[in-house]
Symmetry: C2
Subunit: 205 residues, 2 copies
């Protein structure tokens, strides 16, 4: 195995170098094609050091986003009740995260993604690989030919909801109890997840 | 009538002074409570000059937003077909505006509203008074006790849709034909406009 001398592994800049290389890889190549090995090479460190500092690839990705939440823990609990009512539970989960201290980090990420193609790519990769893919897998609906469209539609309503409630502060959504919003918006998410969308199926590639 | 001497009415800064005063009034007091008279006084000009430069209060408001569209013309055409299918037609209208040269102005406004409370207020006032109020009036559903919640829900889905498609460029929404999106998202807007939202009615004030 060819590797660099590790001269930077003890420096205080090592974590920063790894995060910079990781952001470049996740935004440029996408989550699936980015590798710990490639990120380590770019940062000039041993892959073991990346794992040592940041854990798994998922955890490294979350670290690049500076998001103090872990969808791998949050989503199974929200979706555990099965497909019935999953829309409402996902809305409640989104609101509980945004009402928590993590909401400020989410707002920063959303603002950044609106004005930077780079941040937009990281946010898309986060939503697809960390959130929506988990939701669809847990609900057992990954083989739906429209699952990508469904995921994007779910993202459109949830992103619009948090933007309208937390950033634009559009009343009465801004002050509404989460249970009211979950009741009103849950059926939209449910329909995007499971119902007939009344659109033509995408052509096979 | 007490008025200033009009010494600024011929200066090249007069339009700018009126726009600045108008932004302050529309964001600070809201569209309904802002007046041409108050804006003219703040700008140090005669109200007739404000009308001369900008036309009606609606037109002055649109000028402060630098939005090259006129909802007073666009919305009646989209909603003219009545309540059936209104959701789908509103989605199609939103996409046609964002696919036009006006889309760039909309993107700038949305970005600005995400990071400035000032711009967020102007955007809210625009959506409520220029877009949603017209939609609800034309559909004859202004007396619904939940009309404010319905309007905010419509805003959440339409804002999220344009953000996801045009700013985050989330596939397949970013490349989808407008007719596909109108079919997929139209029923959401329709439900927010007219269906039972399954939430408790707000307490009367």
């Amino acid at each position: 195995m060819r590797r660099r001398t590790g001269r930077r592994s003890g420096s205080p800049d090592t974590r920063g170098a790894i995060l910079t290389a990781a952001r470049t890889a996740f935004a440029g190549r996408g989550y699936d094609r980015a590798s710990i090995r490639g990120i380590a090479a770019e940062a000039g460190v041993d892959p073991a050091l990346v794992h040592h500092y940041f854990g798994t690839k998922d955890q490294l990705f979350l670290a690049t986003l500076d998001l103090p939440i872990n969808p791998a823990e949050l989503i199974p609990a929200a979706v555990a009740g099965g497909i019935d009512g999953a829309g409402r539970r996902l809305v409640a989960l989104a609101l509980s995260v945004w009402d928590s201290p993590a909401g400020a980090a989410g707002a920063a990420l959303l603002r950044s993604a609106m004005s930077s193609e780079w941040s937009a790519r990281l946010l898309r990769e986060f939503l697809v690989t960390q959130v929506l893919r988990r939701v669809f897998a847990q609900l057992g609906i990954t083989d739906d030919p429209q699952s990508e469209l469904r995921a994007a539609l779910v993202a459109s309503q949830l992103a619009g909801l948090v933007m309208t409630r937390y950033l634009l502060r559009f009343e009465p959504l801004a002050s509404a109890d989460p249970s009211v919003i979950a009741a009103a918006v849950g059926p939209t998410i449910q329909r995007y997840l499971t119902d007939d969308l009344d659109v033509p199926a995408p052509a096979a590639d």
